[in-house]
């Protein structure tokens, strides 16, 4: 069949879609999300059908194409393209199978991930996959296969080391930037730690966002490898590796219902560890009202799964449950967090002790996993002697940053709002989610200098007029909204 191209003048950024009029759909026996092959001269591509009900979308005899399809076929408005029926991808059958509660094979899981990465699955189809894994679950074998599929269709580091250390925090705790202290300690101790970190998803700053204050983090795999070969370590954004493709697509679909299917969560994290050849991994699961774990029981169960999955992947995994009841460190937001990290590494008097203690404890556990004796003393010595700081400067330099930056040189947002206590009493709690929200609205993570500085923490006494926290922003408009969020919230409880 022939149809005339209508240039929709938009890019969809995902699945390749074509819009046809309802009349043509009926005529051609095509339904919503059916596949057709669109060809023009010697080019051909498969697209998913979206049916326009009104003429305002696409008139009969026409086919609405988006940027990606137009450029792939090299067609323009009013060109005549040929269309042909195409079967749905095999994945659709496998997704349906999982919805029916039937275990998927290695090949089937691989095909789903392949189709997902190649944009062959629509949002609705991907939603069915998420639902299937959420409601019917993936057993350990399926989770292992999902992890391996994600690794297979992504980049790999191929590091030639016998021991590769790694860590992961399940998140939800603002300011939890232990990675940037642990990595230089481990590297200074002589072990490889090619760390990939995430950017902020729902948090105000991810480790990648904070590290970016000090050095570029969007390194391609070959550059990442160079940095690790020279310094034993790196702190880069995992998203720059192609690995995240399948994961990103799934996270986007999981968001509207905030679904965390166990198998996907495990696979998503462990695929990244596998891709960088990690042999020993420490998993930090913070427990608290605003984190992913309201109770130790939930965290323990997930911890066990991490260990089992690690075993299947040939990795040694240890799990720690930590206190996630309030933010860690004083600064929240990329620049403020980077400053805290440098205070700790330089043994500055302004260093937040909670951040230092947690990082030391974790670094020690990791060194112990790698066979180091007196690991805690060793980690402490490396940090307090300045060896960790020297290592961090090396890493910053190799990643392309300025190794000589001083914590107090880091620029913080110039619009400032001090929030003072209106009563006397003890701070009972500081809510992670509220602090995160204020920081984001103030501009983080895009505006590096935006954030919140906590002068007080839970358990401390405040008097009337004491500053509890300071909001920093780079824009008066954003500051206005951040202040509004602060005013409307009850994120700091004083009694």
């Amino acid at each position: 069949m022939k149809l005339k191209v209508k240039d929709m003048d938009i890019a969809t950024g995902g699945t390749l879609i074509a819009i046809i009029n309802k009349k043509d759909a009926e005529r051609l026996d095509l339904h919503h999300e059916d596949r057709i092959a669109v060809s023009y001269k010697n080019k051909k591509t498969t697209v998913v059908i979206d049916i326009g009900e009104s003429k305002k979308a696409v008139i009969p005899g026409h086919i609405g194409l988006f940027e990606e399809v137009l450029s792939r076929l090299k067609v323009k408005n009013n060109n005549i393209v040929n269309i042909d029926f195409e079967d749905k991808p095999a994945s659709i059958g496998y997704i349906r199978k999982k919805l029916d509660g039937i275990k998927l094979t290695k090949d089937e899981i691989e095909q789903i991930i392949r189709d997902l990465i190649n944009n062959n699955l629509s949002a609705i189809e991907t939603t069915y996959f998420i639902s299937a894994v959420y409601t019917k679950g993936f057993d350990m074998e399926e989770t292992t296969n999902l992890t391996k599929a994600m690794v297979e269709f992504g980049d790999k580091l191929n590091l030639d080391r016998k021991i590769v250390l790694d860590k992961h925090s399940s998140g939800g705790v603002p300011g939890n930037r232990t990675t940037m202290i642990i990595v230089p300690i481990i590297a200074a101790a002589g072990f490889a730690i090619p760390k990939t970190s995430s950017r902020a998803i729902s948090s105000p700053s991810g480790t990648a966002d904070t590290m970016e204050v000090l050095a570029p983090v969007s390194l391609p795999v070959h550059r990442m490898k160079e940095v690790v070969n020279k310094t034993n370590a790196c702190i880069v954004w995992g998203g720059a590796m192609n690995l995240a493709a399948a994961d990103d697509k799934m996270i986007k679909i999981r968001h509207p219902l905030s679904l965390d299917p166990r198998g996907m969560l495990l696979a998503s994290i462990m695929a990244k560890k596998t891709a960088v050849n990690s042999t020993h991994v420490l998993i930090d699961l913070p427990i608290g009202k605003s984190t992913k774990f309201k109770s130790r029981g939930d965290a323990k169960r997930l911890g066990k799964d991490f260990k089992r999955l690690g075993k299947k992947l040939g990795m040694k995994v240890n799990v720690i449950l930590t206190d996630g009841s309030q933010p860690i460190g004083n600064g929240i937001g990329p620049a403020l967090e980077a400053r805290d990290v440098l205070y700790v590494l330089t043994n500055d008097i302004k260093a937040p002790l909670d951040l230092k203690d947690k990082a030391l404890m974790m670094a020690a556990k990791m060194l112990k996993m790698a066979g180091v004796f007196n690991a805690y003393d060793k980690a402490k010595e490396i940090l307090e002697s300045g060896k960790a700081y020297s290592k961090m400067k090396e890493i910053i330099k190799e990643q392309g940053g300025n190794p000589d930056v001083k914590p107090d040189d880091i620029e913080i947002g110039k619009y400032v709002h001090e929030f003072r206590s209106e009563k006397e009493g003890m701070i009972r709690s500081i809510d992670n989610k509220t602090i995160a929200k204020i920081t984001r609205i103030a501009g983080a993570p895009t505006d590096k200098g935006a954030g919140v500085f906590l002068h007080k923490h839970a358990g401390e006494i405040v008097n009337v007029g004491d500053i509890i926290l300071t909001i920093y922003s780079e824009s008066p408009q954003k500051m206005k909204y951040a202040k509004r969020i602060l005013k409307e919230s009850d994120g700091v409880e004083i009694r």
Copy 2:
């Protein structure tokens, strides 16, 4: 926040969507499918966020709006609109609850249907709802509440009759147009039967499409009521009643994976019966390779659920399992089927006996449910005496058609292709799906005259050169494709 309108120049026809640039989304802490309120002067509406990754969609500082939103807010390209955060609809929480396997209350189900009808749920969110009902199931109470919610948010007939008869066939059998024979028999016997039928979904012609050959079927509720008050009956398209709104949206999302969650299937059918005040309903479940039921067991289980749901809704339901192994009647496609129906009603020698027998059997069962003695003889007498035909003429007239149309006056497609047997033997099977596909590709149901006429049925002997079937089409192009489908298929098995 203020954003500048970009007119996307498309209508989406469903959920209200706005596209914003990734940078703005990050800045405003907005994620895919979050809600915002968009206001302009004194108008305001809630939209779902779609995030454009590239500038080709929408540049930062702009908001891409579709036809529905533009007209609702009365805004134009480059107008400045105000945007504000909105919470997700409460339904999202209920959908998540069902995904977690928790039973939904009456209020929760009502809210989901209300949001669905009001376009407050996105395709992804609706997909999660379908998945939840599919994987976790709806028990009889939930199914009853879903049915009632669908009735509540749709039109109702409010007929003042003590007994209202109705029927339903689960489909998958081309040519199964018993309704158009049963309805006039029942009505001539003095009972009310306000029949709403569907148009073709995946079949080549629905009863509504076939009836439309004889009379208009898109009657609003008040006209439908008039027709029933005058003639005891009607045969109209259910989709003209607003009832189908929620159902249509769900069917669209169910299509990509061809999911038929039990609770939705039951509710969808029984809501329509409730809306027209049916008291006695006969359900026909055809069993066969290409129907919804491969086995009697499956059909029996569903039949039981129909009866239980009927009881909850105060309706008497009987169920019959019938032979759905091959098409019924000779003609497939709107005009050809209408002709078959008139042949039966006028006791013409060309009447297909399988269609007549099935319709008589069903009409008798329905009359018996209503308390008629010797129901089969009664039904037969009504049909063969011509009383059913007179009643059909009344119905056609009241619906606005020409009551005097003769079967041989009905126009059939002028492009004709005869398919002859290349061998001698017995026809083992005629595949429903193949015949349906050929009929659709030939132009049905849009082209009323398109279709397939079966000269032979399963079990009949054919010789070399005998015509097995004839394809009719209104367009040479469509005939070409239909012939191709016939050639590529093995829909008629001769051995």
